[in-house]
């Protein structure tokens, strides 16, 4: 099969005529930035979408409700620490404490980012542009991850500022506080990556936002009691069982990596949690890319 389509160059604007009636159509002579720029723009656009920016007031309600909720948790933590002097809620603990609102955020925002485009069949418009299918999927995933991380990191900034002011052990104290803060942010990043990859993958399976949200919430909520029940059996099974649930999985990583007692008993199998987390994330990303290779354009 061979088809040859060679259209003309841009029609030259009549140089001689002299009479201009209408500005009419003007050709674009400016720069055309490539695929990388398109992917970055999609990332920024999607990140804004996650928080309802540039969209209707209605779509801002939920994300900002969750932001307000987690910020409130941080504000309370700062206030209590200011009063009593000791931190009841640490940076690491914060991410675990707000895991439920984080999941709700994920269950609502991930479908917003990917299911909507599937539903409205916008993808052919993307794929007929320099952007590739994989670029689209990864830009959406990166936006979701950043959104979850910002949700977790923002309140920790408040906690850090509050923490610095409630300490009275000088510069060494601030360095110490900053170290804890940094650890908290890195853990938030791990949680954001694990949660978002699964969230975006699940959302990409359905064009219906409600269905996608239910599936995401379902996967997280159903695996939680299973992990708890198996964990209560104790022994090797009990120590490995928390891997089944994404929330307890990252808590296991936390226990092993940062040595905080999260209630997840990892025993000798701590490294396993990190390995499983890395393998799962890699598998989810692979599946996501496969999904977008298949999706109709």
């Amino acid at each position: 099969m061979s088809a040859d389509i060679v259209p003309s160059q841009a029609a030259p604007v009549e140089p001689s005529g002299g009479v201009i009636h209408d500005i009419g159509y003007q050709r674009y002579e400016g720069p055309r930035l490539g695929r990388g720029y398109a992917a970055r723009s999609l990332y920024v656009h999607s990140l804004r979408t996650a928080f309802g920016l540039g969209r209707s007031a209605k779509s801002k309600i939920f994300p900002w409700l969750v932001v307000a909720l987690v910020t409130m948790v941080a504000v309370v933590a700062v206030a209590v620490r200011g009063e009593s002097g000791n931190a009841v809620l640490g940076y690491l603990q914060f991410t675990d404490a707000v895991s439920m609102p984080t999941l709700l955020f994920l269950a609502v925002v991930a479908p917003e980012l990917v299911s909507r485009d599937l539903r409205a069949q916008v993808l052919p418009l993307y794929f007929s542009r320099p952007l590739r299918r994989g670029d689209y999927a990864l830009a959406k995933l990166a936006a979701m991850t950043t959104a979850v991380w910002l949700l977790l990191a923002g309140p920790q900034v408040l906690m850090f500022i509050g923490g610095v002011f409630s300490r009275n052990d000088g510069f060494a104290g601030i360095v110490d506080e900053f170290h804890d803060f940094w650890v908290g942010l890195s853990y938030a990043a791990i949680a954001a990556v694990v949660f978002s990859t699964l969230g975006i993958l699940l959302a990409s399976l359905s064009g219906r936002r409600a269905v996608a949200a239910a599936v995401i919430a379902g996967v997280y909520l159903v695996t939680a009691p299973v992990a708890v029940v198996l964990a209560s059996l104790g022994g090797t099974v009990g120590r490995v069982a928390p891997i089944l649930n994404p929330v307890t999985l990252v808590q296991g990583v936390e226990t092993w990596l940062y040595g905080r007692d999260t209630g997840v008993d990892v025993g000798q199998h701590g490294y396993l949690y990190l390995v499983v987390a890395v393998v799962l994330v890699a598998a989810y990303v692979t599946l996501l890319l496969a999904r977008y290779r298949k999706v109709a354009a």
């Binding site: 099969m1 061979s2 389509i5 259209p7 050709r27 490539g34 720029y37 909507r116 052919p124 418009l125």
Partner: protein, 294 residues
Amino acid sequence: MTALDAFTVDIEPGIIGLVGANGAGKSTLIKTLLGLSAPTSGTVRVLGLDPGPDGEAIRARVGYMPEHDSLPPDMVAAEFVTHMGRMSGLPRTAARERASEALRHVGLYEERYRQIGGYSTGMKQRVKLAQALVHDPDLLLLDEPTNGLDPAGRDAMLALVYRIGTEFGISVMVCSHLLGEVERICDSLVAIDGGKLLRADRVSAMTVRRDVLAVEVDEGTEQLEAGLVQAGLPVTREGRMLLVPLESEQTYDTILGTVAALDLPLHRLDQRRHRVAELFSTQPPPREVEDRVS
């Protein structure tokens, strides 16, 4: 599954009509041109480039308007078209300016800050055209641009496509299953059926002097058909149009009289140069399909 079966066709700049029944392979051809599906054999050149390795470069210079609905209902048209401009590589400011321009050219300037979900079918088609036009492509691929439009909307869309192809200096390939529509605006026609090339030629080369009047009414097509048959005219129906051979000046009067007598809203009565549909159907199936346009 073979959607397209070995044919060779060269298409020159201008407005090209790609006609064929539903399932003839029009959309597959478009996807192949965009580099979205690779041909199992053979070569394709678009703007002198191969969609395989250079798909990205082609997609940067081609505008595509898909057949089906493809717009997010909860986005404002101006923002959506701007976003799509950026996806084609336009810097932020340029994308915004060109989105306004593109929406103005398709006639949606006043309504551009409204949500797409509230638009009529005709307006949605225009937004789809605007997003294909926003990055100033060298070639536009329009898949059934008149889909779902009423007669007035179809005429407006075709006039717009014609303007883009002639005044804007952008080559256009219009896909349609309605030959009668595209033949009015195209320089050349490519007809495919069952993935095979039926015929490709310049419209002028296909012209046969067979005068036919096309009559279209907004409603009551059946009534009119019956009325015209009663008046002794050999009527054939094509989509929403009735075609009557122009035998004498009397034919005009007879038709107008019948329409007036039935009190129907006449939408169009014009003379067609020919009926390309007949040309296609009477054309012997191409042997070794090697048709060249021009």
